[in-house]
Amino acid sequence: MKRVLLLSIIIFICSPAIFANNESKELWEKAYHQYRAADYDGALGSYLQIEGKGLSSKELSYNIGNCYFKKKEYGKALLYFERALKYNPSDKDIIRNIEITKDYTLDRIEVLPEFILRTWIRELNYTLSSNLWAWSGIVLTLSMFVMLLGFRFAPKSSLRKISLILAIVAFTAALSAFSFAWSQKASFNKRDAAIVLTPVASVKSSPDSEGKDLFMLHEGTKVKIIDHIAPWKRVVLSDGRDGWIREESIEVI
């Protein structure tokens, strides 16, 4: 009975490994060879096919972005680089590619520098993926419980003291691991940023076509969405200006 339970738990835990099948791996290899042979259309097709299966990863989004860049579709390239960045905002390759791709877009918008401590914490946060953090949190919780058992039943009072201290340390570590995992999940699921994909899009003062044109945005510019009245979206630029834009001219990252 116990053995069956254990087995079912192991299968339950390992289910993601079973999910990633052979076919998508072959497609991945094929796309890589197509990219190497400078067949960017073919490589893009293969990658999009993988994406169509409902699979995703940082690497996939990044590679799709690279294909679009080589096809000189800079708006879409930026969209996919930003999507890859959601998995890890500290990835050097992605940051560099975004910088280079931005040279090919028209709009130049000042971005305010970030507080250094936030950058550090974010870098620490993204040293592990959300799932790894969650798993390490689980492991820490487990060790906390073991320590608590030790605290309650250790034969010597000195051992009990050490167990208590370790249990407290494991508890705080587990809590921070879980909070990192949560924050990664939350920022991934946030759908408040978008990239302009049409060559030119006008931003209006009100959500109707009669509204006054405030400014024009060009392909590849990143905006933040703060409100929504179909078919319009209220967007804010990183320098603080805002207005209403048609929702079909932008795509959410």
Binding site: L55, E59, D93, G137, I138, T141, F145, L149, P155
Partner: protein, 596 residues
């Protein structure tokens, strides 16, 4: 046998002597009129052993063959050259219009057979007016008697395709000369004269069924430089036509002999010709530099291996037919290590009656400054192929250049500086995005472990495991009846409880009860802690056991001494009330120390 060989050898030698460039050529008019008598002459360059007549078909052979022989010897500066010729002349007449093919004639010279080319003769209807003109004498010239004509070999071309324009003079009447010749300017074309005869030679030509004497005046190669409808302007000239002076018209036979001619000026003008120039297809490759025609392409290095600071060049040769002189230099990307110089262009193209053809060479000189092995990437060259109407891209092979050390030991001024002075920053040549990631890593989109049912279940399992763990451990302790363990764990508690009681006695100053409690506390503690039966509780045993669990000698002695003190006080008559609080403090201190 030997003799036969000798004879054969001699014969062969003789034959060799006589074989010297023998040929049979034919001389015949291309166009004749019905009823006209004309001659066909076969010229044989040596005395033939036999001559086979050609088959004249339906043409009437009037006279022939008439054989005539001609020989001459020339000695120039002591060099002798002989020429010998036998002519066979046939006089023929055609009775009806049509095209007549005369089969080749053949001659046997020195045992070998030579044959002439076949001849095609167009027979056209006789021009009655011409005859009457020449008979009656004519004082005026009409446009059909003399005219010039410009002909193009094509009128529908693509931009850059070459056209051959021919200007010819056609006449039935005699010409005294011409003046004031104006050739067209060819607006919208690049043009080059290819034939411009010094003397005018007339040949007979059939124009719309009439026989004219035609002469080539000029031939041009034209290359359209614009698209759309272009016009080739007319050519103009003034000719002096010889016309009989109308002396009498009596028709006497003397007139025929004493005819006098006078020159009449006549202005001639060819008609303008429209040329439709269509643009090249839009999908031109990037390496297209304007070439239209049919080209071959070759890229080479002037030397495969050189020393540093020695000049080398990449040679790009383009040859073929087409507007080769208008082809621009192909793009060549040399490694940036090389010092590059201006390109030299050598144009060896020639314009002839068949158009422009030849070769063009682009020389890209450069000097490699540092030793090493360099590859020069393939150079592409594209042209528009007229025949297949599409762009053709030719690609050269990759070239490898080995650059050795400078023979002069690198005494170039920049290398003569002291070490460390001529360091340079690493230059950025270009920027590109980083390469794609190759590690295979995929998961279902938006699936996070944290917050999932699985995550909470695991936490729950952990909590439950902890709870069952505590229960299990408690149960195990009970089941094993681990009294000793329990006692050990409870020893402190029991001892403390006894000590509390003793403290109460101390406050009430009940010395006997106090010592009893204190004694019991100490004995009970040692029994629980050391897992000893009450029966075994001798002082020696206690001390031994205390030392056995790692208590220091000093503490163990203190413990035993305290036990002694308690016993003494319990059973002594004075009740030992003086040291009560002191002994109590000692006991508390001792148990705390043992528990630590």
């Amino acid at each position: 046998m030997k003799r036969i060989k000798l004879i054969l050898g001699v014969l062969f030698l003789l034959q060799g002597l006589t074989l010297k460039s023998q040929s049979v050529t034919v001389d015949a008019p291309g166009v004749v009129e019905v009823g006209e008598t004309f001659q066909i002459i076969y010229r044989v360059s040596a005395q033939p052993a036999s001559f086979r007549d050609p088959d004249f078909g339906k043409l009437d052979l009037l006279v022939g063959p008439v054989t005539s022989t001609m020989s001459s010897t020339q000695i120039i500066n002591g060099k002798r050259s002989d020429s010998y010729e036998v002519n066979y002349t046939y006089t023929l007449q055609a009775n009806s219009e049509g095209r007549y093919v005369i089969s080749p004639a053949s001659a046997v010279i020195g045992g070998k057979s030579y044959s002439s080319k076949g001849v095609v003769i167009d027979v056209v209807k006789g021009d009655a007016s011409q005859k009457s003109n020449s008979q009656k004498g004519k004082t005026t010239v009409t446009d059909s008697d003399i005219f010039i004509r410009t002909t193009l070999n094509k009128t529908h071309v693509v931009k850059g395709e070459q056209i051959i324009a021919t200007i010819k003079l056609y006449t039935k009447v005699g010409i005294g000369g011409f003046e004031d010749v104006r050739f067209p300017t060819f607006n919208g074309f690049w043009s080059q004269e290819v034939e411009s005869p010094q003397s005018i030679e007339f040949t007979r030509e059939n124009v719309d069924g009439k026989i004219y004497n035609a002469a080539l005046i000029k031939k041009y190669v034209l290359v359209p430089q614009q698209t759309g409808n272009l016009t080739v302007d007319p050519a103009e000239m003034v000719t002096q036509v010889q016309v009989k002076s109308g002396s009498g018209g009596s028709g006497s036979m003397f007139d025929e002999f004493f005819e006098s001619y006078q020159n009449v000026r006549k202005r001639l003008r060819s008609s303008a010709i429209k040329v439709v120039v269509s643009p090249l297809p839009g999908s031109a490759p990037t390496s297209f530099t304007g070439g239209v025609g049919d080209f071959k392409y070759n890229v080479s290095l002037s030397k495969d291996s050189v020393a540093a600071n020695e000049a080398v060049s990449v040679l790009v040769n383009i040859s073929g037919t087409g507007n080769i002189n208008l082809v621009e230099k192909p793009k060549l990307s040399l490694p940036s290590e090389f010092e590059q110089y201006d390109t030299k262009i050598a144009d060896n193209s020639k314009a002839s009656g068949a158009g422009i053809s030849g070769a063009k060479q682009f020389e890209f000189p450069f000097i490699p400054r540092n030793p090493g092995t360099y590859t020069i990437p393939p150079v592409e060259f594209s042209y528009f192929d007229i025949r297949s109407k599409r762009y053709v891209t030719l690609k050269s092979k990759e070239l490898t250049l080995r650059v050795g050390k400078d023979i002069n030991g690198g005494v170039a001024p920049q290398n003569a500086l002291s070490p460390g002075v001529n360091k340079q920053a690493v230059k950025n040549l270009g920027s590109d995005i980083n390469y794609i990631k190759t590690g295979y890593n995929l998961s279902a989109r938006g699936k996070f472990f944290i917050g999932s049912i699985k995550f909470y279940l695991l936490l729950l399992i952990l909590g439950a495991a902890y709870y069952t763990g505590t229960l299990y451990i408690k149960k195990r302790i009970k089941m094993r009846g681990d009294v000793a363990g329990m006692k050990n764990r409870r020893a402190n508690k029991v001892a403390r409880a006894r000590l509390n009681k003793a403290e109460n006695m101390l406050k009430q100053n009940l010395s006997a009860e106090f010592y009893e409690e204190l004694h019991m506390a100490l004995l009970g503690y040692s029994s629980d802690k050391l897992a000893l039966n009450f029966a075994d509780l001798t002082k020696d045993r206690i001390k031994e056991s205390l030392l056995g669990i790692g208590v220091s000698e000093e503490l163990a002695q203190l413990y035993v001494d305290l036990l002694d003190a308690c016993e003494y006080a319990r059973y002594s008559p004075d009740g030992g009330g003086s040291g009560m609080s002191e002994n109590y403090k000692k006991a508390v201190e001792l148990i705390s120390k043992l528990e630590a």
